[in-house]
C-alpha cells in the first residue's frame, strides 16, 4: 500500500493533494535494497507545470532503465503546502517513495527559465539542504543543474555543485558510474566533484574563480584545479533515432498544463533567427527517423491512453518527411479517436491541408509569428517571413474557413524604430482586409478575429543579439502604447484585439539571462524576502529585485542596457556550444545592416555547429566542407 509523507489532515487542507501523492501510470517504484544511486529529479515549479515537460520524462526514463538507479520526482510545493512544511519542519520529499529529498544521492534540477531561480532555492531550503554549495557535507545530495539556462549558469554558481551542459543522452550514465565508483571507494564530496569535472560537459563552478574589471565586466576566469578545464564543451547526442525516449511516460492523475502524448521529432533549427537562443543552443540540427517516430507514436498512445498527440520541435515545417509522417499519424489517430496538435508550423497550403484533416469541424485559430511589423526589422532579426507570404497564408486560411488569427510580435528589438511598431498595426489591418476581400459575405462565419500579442525582447547568451541593449520598463510600456494606439487608428480596429506582456518581468529576465556570479547574493536576497513562483504573473515583484540589487551594490542597467563591445569577455564565454562567437558577431554586424542570412538548407554560413559532425562537414549542404573555426576564448 502506498504511503504518504503528509498526513490526511494536511493533504485534505491543501489545493490539489494529488500533486504530492505519486502512484501515477508510468511512474517507477523500485526495491531500495537493489539500488546504488537515488536520484531526485526536480522541475522547480508546481506539479502541473513540471509534468508538462518532456525533458523530465526523458531523463526519468533514461535513469530508471538502469537497475542500480532509482529516479524519482520532486516539484515545488504550492504556497499552501510550502507554509505547512516550514511550520511543521517537515522535509520535502520525492513523490514516488515519499522519502525526504535530503536522503538522496543526487538532486537534479531542469532549469528552463530564469524566473524559476527562487523556486530552486525554495526546494533546497524545504529539503533541508544548505543553499550554498560550499556549506554542504557528505550527507547532502549532490545538487546538479541542466537545461537551457545552464548555457549561462553563472548567476546560480553559488548554489550548485555541478552543471550538466548538454543533452542527457550523452554523459549522464558516465556521471552516475563515476559517482558510484567514488562512493564505493569512500571518497568525499570534493574528490567526487573533481572526478566529475574531468567528464566532458560537466561544469563544477567551485573549481573556478572569476575576477572583474573596474567597469564590472569579466576580467579573467581561472581554473583552481588541473582537472577543471577552461573551456567546457556542450555534449550533443549524435543519433536521435537510437537513443533514450520513453515508451511509458508518466501520465498525471490531475490535468497537467500540457495534457498530451509528446513526440519530439527533431532538435535544433536551420532558420537562424537572431533573437532565438534555442535555435543556436540545440544546433547541430538532428532529426529522428521516420520509422522511429511512427513506431514510437503508436506505442505512446497504447501505453498512455492520451486523447491528444503533439509533435514537438522548433520548426516542424522543416522536418523533411513531415508529409509522410502526418499521413501516418492522421490515420493512426483517427482510428484511435485521438486529436493531433501541431504547433510550430509555417502557415502555407501544405499545413492548411494538414490542419483541415486534423482539426475539428469548428476551426480554432491559426498562429503566425512575424515577430516584427516591418520587413526591414524582420530582416534585422533574420525572420525571413515576407508580408506577401503572410497575406497569402492568411488568404488560404480564410478560404479554407478559418476566421481567427493570432499574431505574435516582439517589441524592444535591436534597431527598432517607432515606425516598425506602427507597422504591426498596419500588418494586422492588412490581414483583416484580406479576410473581407477574400470571403464573400454569405460565406462568412462571423467577423474576422485577429489577436495581436506582443512580448518584449530579452537579449540572450549565444545569440547574435547577446550584444544588444535592452530598455527600461517605461520604454517598453510606451512601445506597447504606440502599438495600441496604432491599432485603434485602423479601419478594422474592431476586428483586432491587442494584448502585451509585462515589462517588469522582462527586465529581470534580462538581468539574469546575461548575468554573472555577483547575482547569486541578489537571488538569495530576493528569495529571503519572500519571492516565489515569480514566473506566475500574480507573484512577481520587481521591487524586491530593485532593493536587492541596491543592497548588493549592483544596477539593473549594467546587465540590461549597457552597450557591449565586440571584444568584451562574457560570463558564458567559457562554454563551447559549437556555434562560434565569431559567427554570432558576424551575424550581429549583418543585423545592423538588415542583411538576411539564408537558412542552413539554402546555404551554409559556417556557424560552427558542424564541429560536432565527423570531418566538420555540415550535413545540410552535402559534401561542402565548412570552415568552422572554433573560437579561441
Amino acid at each position: 500500500m502506498r504511503k504518504t509523507a503528509l498526513s490526511d489532515d494536511i493533504l485534505l487542507r491543501v489545493e490539489k493533494p494529488a500533486r504530492y501523492i505519486g502512484g501515477e501510470v508510468g511512474s517507477s517504484m523500485k526495491d531500495l535494497s537493489r539500488i546504488d544511486i537515488r536520484f531526485a529529479m526536480c522541475f522547480p515549479d508546481v506539479y502541473e507545470i513540471g509534468m508538462s515537460h518532456l525533458g523530465l520524462q526523458i531523463i526519468y526514463d533514461q535513469l530508471n532503465r538502469r537497475d542500480d538507479i532509482w529516479c524519482e520526482r520532486v516539484f515545488s510545493p504550492w504556497f499552501d503546502l510550502h507554509n505547512i512544511l516550514m511550520e511543521t519542519k517537515t522535509p520535502l520529499f520525492a513523490v514516488e517513495s515519499q522519502d525526504p529529498v535530503k536522503d538522496f544521492d543526487f538532486l537534479g534540477f531542469t532549469i528552463q527559465f530564469e524566473l524559476c531561480y527562487t523556486n530552486i532555492l525554495q526546494v533546497l531550503e524545504l529539503s533541508g539542504i544548505p543553499l550554498h554549495a560550499e556549506d554542504r557535507t557528505k550527507s547532502d545530495p549532490i545538487v546538479m543543474g541542466g537545461g537551457p539556462c545552464t548555457c549561462n549558469p553563472e548567476p546560480l554558481a553559488d548554489f550548485f555543485d555541478l552543471f550538466y551542459l548538454g543533452e542527457s543522452e550523452t554523459v549522464m550514465y558516465t556521471l552516475m558510474d563515476v559517482y558510484k565508483a567514488s562512493k564505493a571507494a569512500g571518497e568525499g564530496r570534493r574528490a567526487f566533484l573533481k572526478r566529475a569535472a574531468a567528464i566532458p560537459g560537466i561544469y563544477v563552478p567551485s573549481l573556478y574563480e572569476v575576477s572583474y574589471n573596474e567597469d564590472g565586466t569579466v576580467r579573467e576566469r581561472r581554473s583552481l584545479d588541473p582537472c577543471a578545464p577552461l573551456i567546457i564543451r556542450k555534449q550533443v547526442a549524435d543519433e536521435l533515432s537510437d537513443t533514450f525516449y520513453p515508451t511509458h511516460p508518466i501520465v498525471p492523475f490531475i490535468r497537467a498544463t500540457q495534457d498530451k502524448a509528446v513526440l519530439e521529432i527533431q532538435r535544433g533549427c536551420i532558420r537562424g533567427c537572431r533573437f532565438c537562443q534555442a535555435g543556436m543552443l540545440y544546433r547541430p540540427t538532428r532529426r529522428r527517423s521516420l520509422s522511429f517516430l511512427k513506431e514510437r507514436a503508436k506505442v505512446l498512445l497504447e501505453n498512455t491512453g492520451y486523447e491528444e498527440l503533439s509533435l514537438s520541435s522548433l520548426s516542424s515545417s522543416d522536418y523533411p518527411e513531415l508529409g509522410e509522417l502526418l499521413t501516418y499519424l492522421i490515420d493512426l489517430c483517427s482510428e484511435k479517436k485521438v486529436n493531433i496538435s501541431l504547433p510550430s508550423l509555417r502557415i502555407d497550403r501544405f499545413s492548411l491541408d494538414v490542419m483541415e484533416k486534423v482539426q475539428d469541424v469548428r476551426k480554432s485559430s491559426l498562429t503566425f509569428a512575424p515577430e516584427a511589423g516591418s520587413q526591414k526589422l524582420r530582416n534585422v532579426i533574420n525572420k525571413g517571413l515576407t508580408e506577401e507570404s503572410i497575406l497569402q497564408g492568411a488568404q488560404e486560411a480564410f478560404k479554407g474557413g478559418w476566421n481567427k488569427v493570432k499574431l505574435y510580435f516582439m517589441l524592444g528589438l535591436p534597431f527598432e524604430e517607432e515606425d516598425d511598431r506602427k507597422a504591426i498595426a498596419r500588418l494586422a489591418e492588412s490581414i483583416s482586409e484580406t479576410y473581407y476581400d477574400t470571403v464573400p459575405k454569405e460565406m462568412r462565419h462571423g467577423k474576422c478575429d485577429i489577436t495581436v500579442s506582443t512580448s518584449f525582447f530579452v537579449a540572450k547568451p549565444f545569440t547574435p543579439f547577446q550584444w544588444a541593449s535592452m530598455f527600461d520598463e517605461e520604454d517598453y510600456l510606451s512601445y506597447a502604447k504606440t502599438v495600441r494606439e496604432a491599432i485603434r487608428a485602423q479601419k478594422n480596429q474592431k476586428s483586432i484585439r491587442y494584448n502585451w506582456h509585462e515589462a517588469d518581468v522582462t527586465v529581470i529576465e534580462g538581468v539574469l539571462a546575461r548575468g554573472d556570479r555577483r547575482l547569486g547574493p541578489v537571488i538569495e536576497d530576493v528569495y529571503r524576502h519572500g519571492a516565489l513562483y515569480e514566473a506566475w504573473t500574480d507573484h512577481f515583484s520587481i521591487e524586491l529585485w530593485k532593493e536587492a540589487m541596491k543592497r548588493q551594490g549592483l544596477t539593473i542597467q549594467f546587465y540590461t542596457k549597457r552597450v557591449r563591445s565586440a571584444d568584451e569577455v562574457f560570463p558564458w564565454d567559457f562554454i563551447d556550444i559549437g556555434v562560434t562567437k565569431k559567427f554570432l558577431l558576424k551575424e550581429w554586424e549583418r543585423a545592423q545592416r538588415a542583411e538576411v542570412t539564408p537558412n542552413c538548407e539554402e546555404h551554409c554560413s559556417g556557424c560552427g555547429a558542424a564541429s560536432y559532425h565527423a570531418g566538420n562537414v555540415c550535413p545540410f549542404t552535402g559534401n561542402q566542407t565548412v570552415n568552422a573555426v572554433k573560437e579561441d576564448v
Binding site: 493533494p17 494529488a18 502512484g23 501515477e24 497504447e302 491512453g305 479517436k337
Partner: protein, 260 residues
C-alpha cells in the same frame, strides 16, 4: 452494449477528485483498446456516466459508472430491428463482445494501485435511467478512534429520536431538514483490525432525489451543528443501491446480467 462497471478506489487515490477519476478511466480504457462508443459532434468523448461523485478523501468498494461498449449485445435478438440505424447483429458495425470475466481481467491489467474493477455487467438498453438516476441508497463505514460502547450508545439514542434536524447546504444558502427518515440503518462495532477503533455502519438514502451525506449523520451523532466537535474519521463507501421491483434495496452491482 450498455454496461455497468463497479470499481473500488482505495489508498492514495482517495485524494483524486471526481473529474480526475473520470479522466483516469477514460485513459485506462483507451489503453485496453476496448471499442467504446463516443459522442457525436465536435470533440467526441467516451460515453461514460457515474452514479455519484465520491468526495475527496473517501475510499470505496462500491463506485459505479455506466458506459457504452461498441460491440454486439448478446442478449438482444439478432432479428430485432436495428437501434440507431445499426443492427446489433451486424458484425460489420459491432464487434464480438468479450465476457465479463475477460473484460475484468483486461481492464484490471491496466489499473494502477488504488483502483480495481470489481464487476462489469450488461444492462438492458430498454431499461430507463442510468446509474445516477436509479440510485436510491448507499452504505458506508465510518472509522474513528473512539470506544465502541460509547458510539453504540450514541447510535441507539439517535435512532430513537423521531426527528433529527440538520442544516443542509444548498446552492442558494442553507436549509433545515429532518434527516431521521433518511437513515435506514445505523450501528457500530469494534474494528476488526484495530482494537482502538470503532466502525460505524450506516445505510442511508442516496441518489439525486434525497441524498444523505454521512457528515450530517456524524454531526447529529456528536451534536455538533457546524461539525467542529466531530472527532476525525475515515469515510468509506461500501456500496450503492437501487430499489428493485419488489420494493427491496438491490446493490447496483447486481443489476443487469453477467456477460457470458
Amino acid at each position: 452494449m450498455k454496461v455497468r462497471v463497479r470499481f473500488a478506489k482505495y489508498g492514495t487515490t482517495r485524494f483524486l477528485g471526481h473529474l480526475d477519476v473520470m479522466r483516469y478511466f477514460q485513459k485506462a480504457l483507451r489503453r485496453t483498446d476496448t471499442p467504446c462508443s463516443y459522442t457525436e459532434g465536435f470533440s467526441p468523448h467516451m460515453i461514460m456516466s457515474f452514479a455519484e461523485p465520491l468526495g475527496l478523501g473517501v475510499t470505496s468498494t462500491g463506485e459505479y459508472f455506466d458506459m457504452e461498449l461498441d460491440c454486439i449485445d448478446p442478449f438482444l435478438d439478432p432479428a430485432a430491428p436495428p437501434v440507431d440505424g445499426r443492427s446489433s447483429a451486424d458484425p460489420a458495425t459491432f464487434s464480438m463482445p468479450r465476457s465479463s470475466a475477460q473484460l475484468l481481467a483486461l481492464w484490471n491489467s491496466v489499473m494502477t494501485e488504488g483502483f480495481e474493477i470489481l464487476s462489469i455487467r450488461r444492462i438492458d438498453p430498454g431499461r430507463k435511467g442510468n446509474a445516477m438516476s436509479i440510485t436510491t441508497a448507499a452504505s458506508y463505514e465510518i472509522t474513528l478512534q473512539k470506544d465502541a460502547e460509547e458510539i453504540q450508545t450514541l447510535c441507539r439514542e439517535l435512532l430513537a429520536r423521531e426527528h433529527i434536524s440538520a442544516v443542509k447546504e444548498t446552492k442558494t444558502g442553507t436549509k433545515e431538514i429532518d434527516i431521521r427518515p433518511l437513515i435506514y440503518e445505523l450501528s457500530a462495532e469494534p474494528s476488526e483490525t484495530d482494537p482502538e477503533e470503532t466502525v460505524i455502519k450506516l445505510f442511508a438514502s442516496g441518489g439525486s432525489a434525497a441524498n444523505l451525506k454521512p457528515e450530517l449523520v456524524m454531526r447529529a451523532l456528536f451534536d455538533s451543528a457546524d461539525g467542529s466537535d466531530v472527532p476525525p474519521y475515515r469515510l468509506h463507501r461500501t456500496d450503492m443501491f437501487t430499489t428493485g421491483e419488489d420494493g427491496r434495496f438491490l446493490s447496483l452491482g447486481l443489476t443487469g446480467e453477467e456477460i457470458p
